[in-house]
């Protein structure tokens, strides 16, 4: 896992989920963020794509169940 990916994803997640950046960790997930619904989930995926200039595959999107998962998907793409 690259630190660069972690930093980027946490920043984007904080923006989209409207959380202070220091409160976002690998464990941040729909189960512990009240307003993280399907719309916000799609917003997060699209925000990651727009920021990174990629289109994620459906399998990659399916893997994202937490900020940690998102970091792993993005790190794999950046490698």
């Amino acid at each position: 896992m690259s630190d660069e990916a972690a930093k980027k994803v946490i920043r984007i997640a904080a923006d989209v989920l409207n959380l202070p950046v220091e409160q976002v960790t690998r464990q941040t997930a729909p189960t512990n963020v009240e307003n993280w619904d399907s719309v916000l989930h799609l917003n997060l995926v699209l925000a990651l794509e727009a920021e990174l200039g990629v289109q994620l595959e459906p399998e990659e999107v399916d893997k994202i169940r937490s900020v940690g998962d998102a970091i792993d998907v993005v790190a794999a793409r950046l490698n």
Binding site: D15, V16, L42, A47, P58
Partner: protein
Amino acid sequence: MAATREEIDRLIADGAPTGARAALAALWHEQPTPAVASFVVSRFERLQAGGMKLQPFKVAILRSFTVEPIVPLLRALGFVAGLNLIVRIGEFNAYTQEILTSGNWLDEFSANLTILAVQARDIVPDLFERYADLSQEAVANHVQQATDAYRQILTAARARLGGHILVHSLELPDTAIGSADAVVETRQREAIQRINLAIGDIAKSARDVYVLDYDALIAERGRTAWHDERKWIMARMPIAAGEMIHLARQWMRFIHPMSGRICKALVVDLDNTLWGGVIGEDGIQGIRLDDSFPGAAFRNVQREMLSLHRRGILLAVCSKNNPADAMEAIQNHPGMILRPEHFACLKINWLDKAENLRAIASELNIGIDSLAFVDDNPVEREWVREQAPEVTVIDLPDDPLGFASAVQKAPVFERLSLTDEDRSRAAMYAEQRMRLELSQSATSVEDFYRSLQMRAAIEPVNDKTLARAVQLTQKTNQFNLTTRRYTEQQLSAALSAKVSRGYTISVRDRFGDNGIVGLALICLNGAVCEIDTFLLSCRVIGRTVETALLAHLAEEASRAGASKVSGWFVPNKKNAPAADFYSKHGFSLVQEKDGAARWELDLGCGQIAWPEWIACERGSADER
């Protein structure tokens, strides 16, 4: 470098909303991405909760696909333009029921703008997917059905909803028949184009219904880049993440004029904005302005500005230069597309640009928030943003080939319609500036009048001029002796009386045609010619046009056997410029009542002299 999110949050926490707002705009401008949009939206909401007032504008989106991720982008664009866009989205693919069923959320929401965003593959799936199977007749039926559906939906929406309506036209498909599409009987792309033409016709015949050319938007961005088939299958979101901003921007091009967030004038820099190079250093031979690179880029931006000028946007110059150097280039450089006559105001000096912008606004008699400013120098742009935050600053890319498009895409120049008055407005302002310059260089006022080479035509009010005559009675406040307002019906009724006459005066001069600029209504009743209305548009005040019109009235009055001309001066809040009109022309005060004054002129004591510097082209009421 824009402020960081932490710095912005500190500004908000410290109670510095103006600074926070500027920093948010700068951050958004640097990175207009979905993540930054979410940040910008949440912070503007915080600022509003803290008391910041922004103009609200409600948008309802009825749709056949997922638009939710575009909403933060749209709202961020709105916030930085000073708008609080309140967005509600209809149920997925339920637009028909939502419009046809009254008593639902649409009534309660009462949107300023309702967007109908429907994709071709949703409303005419057969034309998209089964095209190769369809007979010519079946294609015609599908086209007809879709057209009928749009007519039904848009008619019902117009009848039921207030505010504006914006409908997306349909995207042209990849052809099911392949390369032969253009030459087969049932051309697939043509079928969709026919539906689009029908949508345009329906919109054109309805009030406040507009069309977003969705196919043109996709074409501009590139069809391949626009679509994300994976997200369409997964989440009914057909647009690629990086392209969503462009649909939001396209919506804003309608929202700006609908909400009044528009600019009336574009103020431009010269060096490296209108031409390549620096005139003060490179000289007229050295600046780049031709059909090669980079001169061609500057000619493109000038062409774009000329097109704004033709649409009624005023152009002005604000440049740090020696005026003589810059004017020589504007007047004489063979590559210039814009010339002095295109500019309503030129500020070429070494003063601070924010000051100059204020002076330009006041000279053009428009608010400073009606100005847009374009300059290649980011330092000047930043300075204006800080010192004159009401001005809309248009950012330019580093590459001059992108300048024209940056100007063309500025939503503040969008209008919902284009009238003849719009087309001639910018030219009239520029002519006015040249008259002013002439008056400043003339040695005497008579000298100035003569140099204008004025020609006036006086005509009885007729069918062709009635509307303009009525408009003058409605709009003229400054040079208006009685301020009597007329409707078309009232004026034509008044003029049908045998004793009544109405005259318009139109004036041309060496700089251009001012059109009809004055109106007089008189009543010839035996010995007295009574002036009912006498007014002059502010365009020609101070040029003795009023004397010409009065001379004509006096002549008509004596010809009809009257021995006196008389009329009231009724003061209003703004007509002080006309207060001495009667006394200046030899009338005597005969009565005063409730602040109004009645004046009289004995025609036996001589006529009113027609000003010698105005050539006369007269008509007569007797020819009616």
